[in-house]
């Protein structure tokens, strides 16, 4: 046979051509997909192939998406519980940072791609998906609007005991969104090491500080 340009590994060629008459069954397709992924991606910069390994949440939510069905309720619950346990609460008990710093982090979509220098500061990608400060007209709609986030939730004085539950929820949601919604589209900023504790504090301030433009 003439040598042709191809990427198929021998195993793939057998899977694809061996059972030439019929499309493989579901589990075989899952297996084939994994094989193809393995053969198709390579390390580049800080983006290594180990990022393709899925944890329970990503594997189960992807499968549910392929099936076109929401995730099984009990399974979703257990994923949420497992993710909740990963939340690292503020070491000094302070939830609120500087909303001005938070705005800068929310604006930045940088970090962790193969073109970003390893160790450079990551952004929060917030405006990619959410409306926040209404002066920024270039915002995305993949996530809900967060304009007036604190105001709508009745946070008048973040230092008061009334506000504690909302501070905790907001912190937890940013740290690990899957603790509250197993198949949330939102990155797990703290858990995945995208944002550090200080940065999360600033984002919480952007959302809950009454002086933040988000709450004007």
């Amino acid at each position: 046979m003439k040598k042709h340009f191809k990427f198929l590994s021998p195993a793939l060629a057998i899977l694809l051509a061996g059972c030439a008459a019929t499309v493989p069954s579901g589990p075989d397709l899952d297996k084939l997909t994994l094989e193809i992924v393995k053969a198709s991606f390579r390390d580049e910069g800080q983006a290594k192939v180990d990022r393709l390994v899925q944890d329970d949440a990503n594997r189960e939510c992807s499968a549910a998406d392929v099936a076109g069905k929401p995730i099984n309720e009990a399974l979703g619950k257990s994923i949420e519980e497992a993710n909740f346990k990963t939340i690292k609460w503020p070491s000094d008990g302070k939830f609120l940072g500087d909303w001005k710093e938070g705005e800068k982090i929310a604006q930045s979509g940088r970090g962790l791609t193969w073109t970003d220098a390893a160790g450079s500061e990551n952004g929060g990608n917030c405006y990619n998906c959410h409306k926040m400060d209404p002066k920024e007209i270039s915002y995305g709609t993949i996530g809900p609007s967060l304009y007036n986030y604190g105001k709508l939730r009745g946070v008048v004085d973040p230092a008061s005991p009334d506000a504690k539950a909302m501070l905790e929820y907001t912190w937890g949601k940013i740290w690990n969104s899957k603790a509250y919604n197993a198949c949330s589209n939102m990155p797990r900023a703290g858990h995945a090491g995208i944002l550090n504790e200080t940065q999360v504090r600033h984002i919480v301030a952007l959302l809950l500080d009454p002086k933040s433009p988000v709450n004007q």
């Binding site: 499309v23 990022r51 992807s62």
Partner: protein, 267 residues
């Protein structure tokens, strides 16, 4: 253009609940800006270059690509783009426009396809592949997508593509579907086509190759997917790899009947 309006109206409707009425004007202004760019798409420059490359004797064998079989027989270019990716018996695999071009450049012209696949986008023979793909797409502009699902490998690649489309991973847990799985969504100000069905699949898949005004580059589908994966914080998809082709089959089949507008102009 009509489709674009429909998407726009849909996203406008979702703003009705929002207090800032200024938003509507901003969207209209952006739409005006995009309309201004339609007249005079620099993709034309790459299209002309691609046609010339197709008809020029090149490579170690010093022959043209005029006998290249893009699926509709040797030398048939018109209508080929809207049927790709498809199964090719000679290579025994499903190929998209760009990977098929590499096959032709190797078998007809004597280039080393694997070497070209390793060249970074926009350089040397890679930029020629992009120009060729731009011309090939332009020859089918306005035609409707009709990818075949007759061959078992074509069906299999669709199923694999679907699994890849929904595969969450990377540092941010993103899948293709995080941005392209629902109607009427935007990232920042960019409308995101829903690639799971028409009109989004036809419009989205059918726009590439496209000229990117942000960097003045011509991007083929391979680079489009490559940069999506970069933004998803995934590792690097190899040029012409089966993962990229499976995604092409998935989007193209979802876009069946949609009109190919490539080469388009994009942000």
């Amino acid at each position: 253009m009509k489709m674009k309006k429909a998407v726009l109206l849909a996203s406008l409707a979702s703003f009705m609940t929002m207090p800032a009425s200024a938003q509507k004007t901003a969207i209209e202004a952006i739409e005006e800006y995009r309309a201004m760019l339609q007249d005079g798409n620099p993709a034309d420059l790459f299209e002309a270059k691609g046609e010339d490359l197709w008809k020029t004797a090149r490579g170690p064998k010093n022959v043209t690509l005029e006998k290249c079989n893009l699926g509709k027989g040797p030398g048939v270019v018109k209508g080929a783009f809207v049927e790709l990716p498809r199964y090719f018996a000679d290579t025994n695999r499903v190929q998209d426009t760009e990977s098929r071009l590499l096959t032709c450049m190797e078998t007809l012209q004597g280039f080393n396809a694997a070497e070209i696949a390793k060249i970074p986008f926009g350089r040397g023979e890679q930029s020629n592949v992009t120009a060729l793909a731009t011309w090939i797409a332009a020859e089918s502009k306005g035609m409707k997508f009709k990818l075949s699902q007759d061959h078992v490998q074509e069906k299999t690649m669709f199923e694999v593509g679907k699994r890849l489309f929904f595969a969450r991973g990377g540092s941010h847990d993103f899948s293709c579907s995080s941005c392209h799985g629902e109607d009427g969504k935007r990232i920042r100000l960019q409308d995101l086509p829903n690639l799971t069905k028409n009109p989004g699949a036809g419009n989205g898949f059918g726009a590439w190759p496209a000229y990117r005004v942000s960097n003045g580059q011509m991007w083929g589908m391979q680079l489009r997917l490559n940069d999506c994966y970069r933004q998803q914080r995934f590792p690097y998809p190899v040029f012409g790899s089966d993962a990229t082709i499976a995604l092409g089959v998935y989007m193209g089949v979802n876009g069946l009947g949609g009109e190919s507008i490539a080469p388009a102009i994009k942000r």
